[in-house]
Symmetry: C2
Subunit: 395 residues, 2 copies
């Protein structure tokens, strides 16, 4: 037995402006501390139904098969892929960031013939690229793409790719981890067959669940599989018997996490999805104006930017770790470092869910205005703050 005594849980206060998790609304924190119900209690089953109803609204879908997967966004990604992909199936994946790469890797592990569409990180993929590749392939099972690529800050337009996938009789699979609840994401209208999100970004709940929805067409593929899904935990044919009318026990649902998701979705309903998306946009515009007024360069051209996550080029001579360390230690603000080719050369600033608030933008810009000059990058005081405020009031 270790004799080390572990102290009281007392984490420092943080303003979470990284790529997720975002800061939680007090009501979501409160929901987490609600005493448990059993996972088969009629009162809990009712909460599950309500959660699913609210999830459908957020996905803008009527899909029957809509559930939160009991794992983080990456578990949702794996569930999205492993339930429809069988060995030998062709999967075309847009890969212009870490999460596109991850989709390709997961599909490959489940035996897919993966056709990656690669290109410069920081730009979306043109529908013409999909069109050309799809033309050259005899049969495609899935066309997969990331909506808001968390590693680059690019928002990928979806409608046209959805049309191409449908013309090819392929399932259209979309990673909406960073967009769902903060960026317009229309599952039914855009012909998305499979879509998954994360809870810790624009949805405003803690990390640990992944909302997932399957169209009727995608659900039909489950029934016509030749082999069982390798992953028992993520097998939707079993999961839907618990979440659906039969209530057959599969695994013990993560009760507290469902409580928090339900509360976060209630807050979305109260705010209004449209108003929430507009809030994410307005604040992002303010952040962008502030950063650019300070002389910083954003990696993604304005027309392709995902509002929840902004990538900023680290100026020459500025020490990445020193700035992020001082932000965290001296100002209690977390931002994210770069991933892949952007490691050490970019910062990732998230404005998601409850974190997307003017005072957080002001606090961050103010901190950067103090820290960057210490690194030799001159900034006049308040120039970023004033630009952000002006942009937000006019936006």
């Amino acid at each position: 037995m270790s004799q080390k005594t572990v102290g009281e849980l007392n984490p420092p206060g943080r303003i979470l402006l990284g790529p997720g998790p975002a800061t939680l609304h007090p009501r979501v924190l409160h929901a987490l501390s609600t005493p448990l119900l059993g996972h088969l209690d009629p009162a809990f089953l009712e909460l599950m139904d309500e959660t699913v109803t609210l999830l459908r609204d957020t996905f803008r879908t009527e899909n029957q098969l809509t559930i939160p997967i009991s794992g983080t966004g990456s578990a949702g990604m794996e569930a999205a892929i492993c339930n429809v992909v069988e060995p030998g199936d062709t999967v075309v994946v847009g890969v212009k960031g870490v999460f596109g790469q991850r989709m390709a890797e997961v599909a490959s592990r489940y035996g897919a013939n993966v056709v990656p569409l690669e290109g410069e990180w920081g730009r979306p993929i043109e529908p013409e690229e999909f069109e050309r590749v799809l033309k050259g392939l005899p049969k495609v099972k899935v066309v997969a793409v990331v909506h808001a690529e968390t590693s680059t800050g690019v928002l990928q337009p979806l409608e046209e790719i959805g049309r191409l996938a449908r013309d090819k009789d392929a399932l259209f699979l979309v990673d909406a981890v960073t967009s769902l609840g903060g960026v317009d994401t229309r599952v039914d209208e855009w012909g998305i067959d499979i879509c998954y999100g994360g809870t810790q970004k624009c949805i405003g709940a803690p990390p640990g669940l992944s909302p997932l929805t399957f169209s009727r067409r995608a659900a039909g593929v489950l029934d016509s599989r030749k082999s069982k899904v390798t992953s028992w935990y993520l097998d939707l044919s079993l999961l839907q018997m618990y979440w659906g009318g039969d209530r057959v026990y599969h695994h013990t649902a993560p009760i507290s996490m469902i409580y928090s998701l339900r509360e976060a979705l209630r807050i979305i309903q109260e705010e209004g999805l449209k108003e929430r998306i507009e809030r994410h946009r307005r604040h992002a515009v303010g952040l962008w104006a502030g950063l650019e007024a300070m002389g910083l360069k954003l990696l993604v051209p304005a027309e392709y930017r995902a509002t929840p996550i902004t990538t900023v080029q680290i100026p020459e001579g500025v020490d990445d770790a020193a700035v992020r360390g001082a932000l965290l230690q001296d100002f209690g603000i977390e931002i994210g470092g770069g991933l892949g080719p952007f490691k050490g050369t970019a910062w990732r600033i998230g404005l998601m869910g409850y974190s997307s608030r003017p005072e957080n933008i002001i606090a961050l810009l103010n901190a950067l205005e103090q820290l960057l000059p210490k690194q030799g990058f001159e900034v006049a005081r308040a120039v970023g703050i004033v630009a952000a405020e002006t942009a937000m009031s006019g936006a």
Copy 2:
């Protein structure tokens, strides 16, 4: 957009005496509502290290590779199996309940040649059965068994089977979902190579994580695999880079759940693991005495009973659903129904973690003393309560 308004989260109060989740300690509820840190924040990495240290104590192991899997107990089961099993490997599984069946099913999905040891539910498996089967097999990769079978209430002795597995040069894999933190579980001393638990039973945290530990021998198997683990989400070679010294991002850790697990493990450390196990035993003895004094029959002979979960035969003529429904609605007490061959014929009563308290036993026995006579099963008032109190004070 659905116009249905979803009301405030306000679940009815419950005393959770089913097969898990158990009622949470107020300190664990409080930990859940702690504001988030980022998953790469140095302050969070320290909490992760502390959590792992406490987990090792609870598993009674020095294993380096000890982490909580970001999913429920069934995800831990799948991680335990899929990381070491490759197609064609022989896996011998003790199957005398639902969770033994599930291990066999998961191993089979990952391509194992599964050799099930089957037999009457409600009894442990004799080591001689393992010995005989192992003798007849040329090469065995894994010998797997459930410690406390939640579907039957049987505690499976492990030491002898561990010795047999080691003699066969097979990995010894143990499901400790219902035993960990409430029943003596000695990973190192008993030669267990792979062991996983659940958080929502005797550990005293909400459902959603699965503590997992791999011996050096089991970890070595990860390095010598011929193929990648099919599940990316559960791939320990990636997970240990995040939980270990490198801190390479894999998936976003479920922060709130880790907070709650850490707090639950702190409570175990304060109580003392030995004292906690003794508390689970003492209260189980009280429950058994009370139920038997009321004339109810327990399915498992006393010497094989798992203290956290007790299976009770439903008396002839008594309506399962009516009694469980009235317990829930009129007394706020949840107990579990039977699974598999025990469906409709047995109840499962859990005394786990914070739920294992004398007042809960008294409340349940008192409720049964009122409900059973309505179903034609006569019980004198207070006979169960008095017997339970006597047994607990003497035990």
